[in-house]
């Protein structure tokens, strides 16, 4: 009884906290100063059509590095908690439908993922989205072939190499140009080309590889394989 009252009170408290947000909501008409700076800077200084990408990779690049670190820690945590073979692994082979579909689709999903993270500075998408798409391709592979063996050393190699190269590009920017993770270490190129916007596509591709390999190793560990 007392528990129900406490739950009810905390829900009412939450509603009371958020009520002013709804009642005093005013629709904004224009971008604020910071956002205006980011939009102009993204177009004129960095040559990146996708403003969200330039905010993530350059203006808030340190945040993204921290985020990739959190993702790495989560991978390590999952691997630590679920290590060892699970004793009661169920051995059911996948249906023929799933096997046939996955043999056709896995390659296409991987190509789509690579397309998404290499075009992160031009179109909606980027490293995180592309990495998740690649991991979903691996998930389909794991579902269709229960006994699939993943080569862990290649996965760890890709993951560590891309993380190392990400930090390396950041330090190069610190030495050669204005600051850590500055994309101007490479020429900016023509606005809207695939090879443009300095180091932004390189950094985002590395993030994509890292996220893809990390999520894949989370999936493999959760699938119960050692």
């Amino acid at each position: 009884m007392i528990k129900k009252v406490v739950v009810l009170l905390s829900i009412i408290g939450l509603i009371a906290i958020f009520m002013p947000m709804i009642t005093q909501f005013q629709e904004r008409e224009n971008l604020n100063e910071l956002a205006t700076d980011y939009v102009n800077g993204s177009i004129h200084e960095l040559g990146t059509p996708n403003v969200v990408t330039s905010v993530i990779v350059t203006y808030r690049g340190l945040d993204t590095l921290g985020e990739v670190t959190v993702l790495f820690l989560a991978t390590v945590g999952v691997g630590f908690l679920l290590k060892g073979k699970s004793e009661d692994k169920i051995e059911i082979s996948a249906s023929e439908l799933l096997e046939t579909t996955s043999s056709v689709l896995v390659a296409m999903i991987m190509v789509l993922g690579i397309y998404i993270f290499t075009h992160g500075h031009l179109t909606p998408g980027g490293g995180f989205q592309g990495g998740v798409v690649i991991a979903s391709g691996f998930l389909l592979m794991l579902l269709s072939n229960v006994n699939a063996k993943m080569n862990h050393s290649i996965m760890h190699f890709v993951e560590s190499l891309s993380g190392f190269a990400y930090v390396g590009i950041g330090v190069t920017g610190l030495v050669l140009t204005v600051g850590f993770l500055s994309p101007k270490i490479l020429p900016l190129g023509n606005f809207g080309d695939l090879f443009s916007a300095g180091a932004i596509p390189v950094i985002y591709s590395l993030v994509g590889l890292k996220v893809g390999s990390e999520l894949t190793s989370i999936l493999v560990t959760m699938g119960g394989e050692k």
Binding site: E29, N32, D63, L82
Partner: protein
């Protein structure tokens, strides 16, 4: 946009209610996920500007007066970060649950009294 703001707050409160009332550990994680999604919707709806489009310069958005034509890019970038962190935290929580289930063979939170006060 006020309607998406209300939707986000409703999802947040539903998520918190689920976390407070459910006994099943998996359902608590589901409640966390719902609250997480609600937060994302709130942040994105605060950055929305009526009648404007995504902050990507192409044929639809002129590069010269892009500032007048796009929504706020910062909330979108923050939400992108938050989604990935939410995914990672959910994965860690679920593996904790797997480990707890292996030890005590129970998914009910009433069987875990160690941290109760």
């Amino acid at each position: 946009m006020i309607s998406t703001l209300i939707l986000g707050i409703a999802l947040l409160i539903i998520g918190f209610y689920a976390m407070l009332t459910q006994k099943n550990l998996i359902k608590i994680v589901i409640g966390f996920s719902i609250a997480d999604t609600g937060t994302h919707i709130i942040i994105v709806s605060l950055g929305y500007l009526r009648g404007k489009t995504a902050p990507i310069i192409d044929n639809a958005v002129n590069a010269v007066n892009a500032v007048q034509e796009v929504v706020d890019p910062i909330p979108s970038a923050l939400v992108l970060t938050a989604i990935v962190i939410g995914l990672a935290v959910t994965a860690v929580m679920l593996s904790f649950i797997v480990e707890m289930y292996k030890k005590n063979k129970s998914l009910s939170i009433d069987d875990y009294q160690e941290l109760k006060w």
